[in-house]
Symmetry: C2
Subunit: 157 residues, 2 copies
């Protein structure tokens, strides 16, 4: 365990694998090899991904029958439940993104090349909160997608 995780009573950020282990234990669930490999694989990449992309990274284990599709889907659901992943829906398929040790953000989605560009705006959140207040709505989170063309694709046009 790295020194930065033992500086005192301050609640410091745990590595994803450990945070997930704590979540599992708190639910009486087991820390299996499959769940560990999956978390590690997910957090060693920094992109958005869908179940298929994740499975590509885990192909070898799947071929060896050490891991299967259903288990990957089951574990993704647990990570969402643990609040460590966000699940979004882009054109019918589920897309996930890290929600642990990663600042909240929104997306510019290029409809030509399908690229996702992240951005964050405090002003946006202020407006969101003001609107919610007007409706006596309690905000838990939000998601915003701006659809259009990215700089590269505009150039190619």
């Amino acid at each position: 365990m790295s020194e930065s995780y033992s500086l005192g009573p301050v609640r410091v950020k745990l590595p994803p694998a450990e945070r997930f282990s704590q979540f599992l234990q708190s639910r009486g669930k087991r820390i299996t090899q499959q769940r560990q490999v999956i978390v590690e694989t997910i957090y060693s990449h920094h992109d958005h991904f869908d179940a298929d992309e994740l499975m590509e990274h885990l192909q070898e284990l799947i071929a060896q029958r050490k891991l299967s599709r259903p288990t990957i889907y089951r574990t993704l659901a647990e990570l969402v439940e643990a609040g460590m992943l966000r699940k979004m829906n882009l054109g019918g398929r589920s897309v996930f993104e890290h929600d642990y040790g990663y600042p909240s953000h929104d997306h510019l989605h290029c409809q030509m090349c399908n690229k996702l560009i992240e951005f964050h705006s405090d002003e946006l959140e202020q407006i969101r909160n003001a609107v919610a207040r007007e409706h006596s709505f309690e905000v838990h989170s939000h998601r915003m997608f701006v659809t259009g063309l990215c700089a590269d694709c505009r150039a190619k046009q």
Copy 2:
């Protein structure tokens, strides 16, 4: 045709069924009874809806075999293509909302009762445009969902 549609060369708003007919003609597609009933049914209601809800309203015709599921899906796709409906994805299933004669808006989505509350904010669009400009991104549209609890559900808590 009502008088308000013949006031001169000004481009006035056509009733949805007519607007759709024009779209179909411009594509060499036919104005069939099925397509007409579907548009009329959709625009005689003012809610968000999914394919199943629409089919409930058209049950009778479906039972009489005057209309079928595939045709409904095909027509919904055409209405989206015509720019008269917006398609969104809420929890895996496709949800549609009117996008004709209806101002653009965003949503507060209550995760308890599943209600959708609409709102519009010019400031939000300004921020959206500013962010896009910074990324040389060309905006076509956007979609924002704020998730949380509506006033009613907060009261019941």
